[in-house]
Every structure is written in C-alpha cells, then in structure tokens.
C-alpha cells in the first residue's frame, strides 16, 4: 500500500524512497479526483415525497394519523374499536403496514372500513412512497380520516416522515414502563402518547408515574392518554383528540 495516501495502486511500498524529483508521473499514479460538497439530508427524497402527501391530504381535507408502537401493543384492536364506534360519523379508512400477511387489513375490513395492506417485506417501517401508493389504492373520500398503522417497531418508523398530520405512539402496560427511556426518538416524535391495556394494570408490575416521567423527559408537554382498547375505558379522550384535529 502507498505509505503516503493509503492507496493500493501498484507495488510501490515506500513512497518517499524515490531519489529523484518527480511530478507524480510514477507507476501507480493517482487518478484526479474532485470533492463535491452536497450538504444534503440523507432522507431528502423521502421528506420531499412526504411534503407532497401532506399537501395532497390538506387539499382533500383528510386527516392522516400515523400510529406507531411495538408489535402487540394493541394498534389494530384500537383501530377496530375506533372504527366501530366512530366510523359512521368520521368516515375512517386504514393503511396497514406489516412486514408480511394481510391479516390486519382483513381485521379492519371486517369492521366495514376500507383498508389497504402494505407489506414492507424486509423493511421495518413505512415510508412516504408507500403511503402515497396506499392512498392511491385507498382513494379516501374528501373530509375523512386515514389511520396509518405503521410496522410494529419503536425504532425505525420515527425517522421516516410520511406526510401525516400527527404521530401517535402507543405503549401497553404489559411492555414495561421503561419504553420511553429505551426509545426516546420515538417518544420525541410523538404528538400524542396512548398508554393501552390499562385494564391489565392490577395484574402487571407497571409503574405509570415512571412511564409518564420518561415520556415527558423525551418530549416535554406531550399529551398522554390512558385507555383500554379492549374494555373501552378511556377511549373517549382519544376520540375527542381525533375530532379536535379534523380539518
């Protein structure tokens, strides 16, 4: 390897042993390069597509909410109840993101709401292009609500803007109160935090105060609602939050 620049060209090992003046005309030669300053966001393309989605949604008076959680936190159950109890008045449709299967979209369709399933395959999150494709398929009516169930994962979805108007993070009491401390990026990105499965609080060791403290350290002032999507306890607050954001 060239001892001066680290390049692997040729067999010259000691760059400075040449006993002659030279203008870099020797054997291994350095191809001319130029440095180009880009100063570009890595996710610029996704962010631009997200802005297109945001504009399209606003133009059509559609509220899009991105729901994110670990697998099993109760996103689909919450959506089922929300559609059953609000669907007649709010016209809800759903974009379902999962790595595989159409099981969740089937559960949503069983409630009567239109749903489109996006399988991300190896991908661990939805991105703005996937939402654009989903909206094209779903073709939601003007002045309606699109609930986006992101892939169950508390890391990756936080990084990808979809063009949604609001982000909701759902944690269940069976997961442990330390979730905001472990995944601060996700909680920092949230407009609303839902603590689900509160009907199970008597049976699990979950410190609600520690959870609230963690959530507010990651995201001071974030609204946190406690509810049970199974029993319906506390869901009225979630419905009020949704209604308040309707265009």
């Amino acid at each position: 390897m060239c001892a001066t620049c680290g390049c692997s060209g040729g067999t010259i090992l000691e760059h400075h042993e040449h006993g002659h003046e030279h203008g870099h005309e020797h054997g291994h030669g350095h191809p001319e390069t130029r440095t180009v300053t880009l100063e570009q966001a890595v996710l610029a393309r996704n962010d631009a597509l997200a802005e297109l989605n945001r504009t399209w949604l606003a133009d059509h008076g559609i509220l899009a909410v991105n729901l994110m959680s670990s697998p099993g936190a109760g996103k689909t159950t919450l959506l089922e109840r929300t559609i059953r109890e609000l669907g007649a008045r709010l016209r809800v449709s759903v974009v379902e993101g999962d790595q595989e299967t159409v099981l969740d979209a089937d559960r949503i369709r069983a409630t009567g709401a239109p749903a489109v399933q996006i399988n991300t395959g190896a991908g661990c999150h939805l991105d703005a292009q996937m939402l654009a494709d989903g909206l094209r398929t779903l073709d939601p009516p003007e002045r309606s609500v699109v609930l986006i169930e992101n892939v169950g994962n508390l890391v990756c979805p936080a990084l990808f803007d979809l063009g949604e108007q609001a982000r909701v993070v759902i944690t269940s009491v069976t997961e442990g109160a330390e979730k905001p401390r472990k995944y601060p990026q996700m909680f920092r990105a949230a407009d609303l935090v839902l603590l689900n499965k509160t009907d199970l609080l008597p049976y699990v060791d979950f410190d609600v105060a520690a959870f609230l403290d963690g959530a507010r350290r990651a995201n001071p002032g974030v609204e946190v609602l406690q509810l049970s999507a199974t029993t319906g306890d506390g869901v009225a607050g979630w419905y009020d939050w949704l209604r308040a954001r309707l265009p």
């Binding site: 390069t33 440095t35 880009l38 661990c124 990026q185």
Partner: protein, 118 residues
Amino acid sequence: MSTQGGSFLHEMAITQSVVQAVCERMGDAPVRRVCLEIGTLSGVVADSVRFCFDLVTEGTTLEGASLEIVQPTGKARCRDCGAEFALTDLLALCTCGSANRELLAGEELKIREVEVLA
C-alpha cells in the same frame, strides 16, 4: 447488529437513501469517498451504516468508495433558563432540572461531501 433493540434494517434503508441520493446528484462519475454526518442523537447507528455500505454500494458508482462518518455530539439550549449544555442522550435534563430543551446539534443525518473521479 445495532444497539437499538436489534433493529438494523433502518440503517439499511438509510444507507440505500445515501447511495440513491449520491447517484442522483453525481450521475455516472465514479465515487471514491463519501462523507456523512450522523449525529449521536439521530437514532442511526454509524457502525451499522458502515456494515451496510459495502453491501448496498455493490454494482453502483459508489462500489469501492471509502466511507467517512462524522458524528456531531448532542447540544441543547434550555427553554427555561437559557443555558446551553451538552446532551449525551435525549432524556438528559438541564442542570436547572428542566426537560424543556431545544436541540441544537446531535440529530444530523446528512451527506456532507463526496469525492469523485474528475
């Protein structure tokens, strides 16, 4: 691969975004070096990006390019007392006890520069 809950796939998507953006900007020019800025609070693990880079660049104009990653550390300004302080994680409080802070640095995720064959 990652320190964040075994999730490694978003670094793959991030690295693919880097390659796509560089190819769009630089056309057919063979790329010899890529310099990224990945803040320590960005949620992206630099080592995982390094791991993905060789895989993702294979067969592209970036194949064989070296990868430099600059990692700006976290900095915040307290909205309550106005102090500026180093932020080692997103849960750290200001010395005044406030969690109400504005992030000034640490969340960078950008392509700083590339070196291409002239």
